[in-house]
């Protein structure tokens, strides 16, 4: 299953502000929980999320354990040219994952 889902409108007019919705599959372990034999479950959260639209950063978030499991974000950006939106995130185990979506901008 995909690691994340990015939702953007099918076609956006140039200059229009559109919504990007990003849902990442991640447990977001807080580091405050214990397993069934009483050992602390190590903290493992996605601490940084970046979204890059045709090479320019449009969204950046620093996250802490207060973000719910399977982090969801919705943000806005301005349509400039057709291309690609790439979201990249890193968790505490050092794993960096990315997901991309194509954007179609009409005149």
């Amino acid at each position: 299953m995909a690691k994340a889902r990015i939702k953007v409108p099918g076609v956006v007019k140039r200059g229009a502000v559109f919504e990007v919705r990003l849902l990442i599959r991640h447990p977001m372990e807080t580091g405050f929980r214990y397993n069934n034999v009483g050992q602390k479950i190590p903290k493992n959260i996605v601490h940084t999320v970046r979204c890059v639209y045709n090479g320019a950063e449009v969204f950046h978030a620093e996250l802490f354990p207060g973000i719910a499991a399977n982090p969801y974000f919705s943000f806005f950006t301005t349509a400039e040219a057709s291309g690609e939106l790439v979201c990249v995130w890193t968790d505490d185990t050092g794993v960096t994952t990315s997901e991309r979506v194509a954007l179609t901008v009409s005149e």
Partner: protein, 160 residues
């Protein structure tokens, strides 16, 4: 001849009295949670986020449900009044929690390309508390808003 009957309680008077009592109960409930009283614990963090000064209240609208059944996932929307132009835009949005073991929930960085200063996410809340959002503008000014959320089942309670 019509007599006034001071000793007998008419139905009308009883109903008026009852309504008055209910109203009297509602007033202290509302006063118990003033939205603009800021949690003491968060003041240094808020000041640090805003660059050393206490942000002004306004321009930021923070929406959360008044009552959350579960603190594991509470939807949050933060919106800042800003034209989002290269001359005047929101640079950062900080989200703070009053009672979570880690008071900083998230920091979002925005720029003029965002077009609209609005972010939605879902957060964890360890109990009934206030959530504060601070927005830092490119001219260095800072604004904030807070919201009170009643949480029925708290998330990340220590030892759970």
């Amino acid at each position: 001849m019509i007599y006034a009957q001071p000793d007998r309680l008419s139905r009308r008077r009883a109903l008026v009295g009852l309504l008055g009592c209910l109203g009297g109960l509602l007033v202290p409930l509302r006063q118990a949670c003033p939205a603009d009283a800021l949690p003491e614990k968060l003041a240094p963090l808020i000041r640090q986020a805003a660059g050393g000064v206490m942000p002004q209240v306004g321009r930021v609208s923070l929406s959360l449900p008044t009552l959350a059944e579960s603190g594991h996932s509470v939807r949050l929307r933060v919106r800042v009044e800003s034209p989002m132009t290269p001359q005047a835009h929101v640079k950062r949005i900080h989200i703070f929690s009053e009672k979570n073991p880690r008071p900083v929930i998230a920091r979002f960085s925005l720029g003029p390309r965002a077009g609209r200063a609005e972010v939605h996410t879902r957060i964890r809340l360890a109990g009934t508390q206030q959530v504060v959002a601070v927005a830092v503008m490119n001219d260095g000014t800072a604004w904030m808003a807070s919201a009170e959320v009643v949480v029925t089942a708290a998330a990340c309670v220590e030892g759970s």
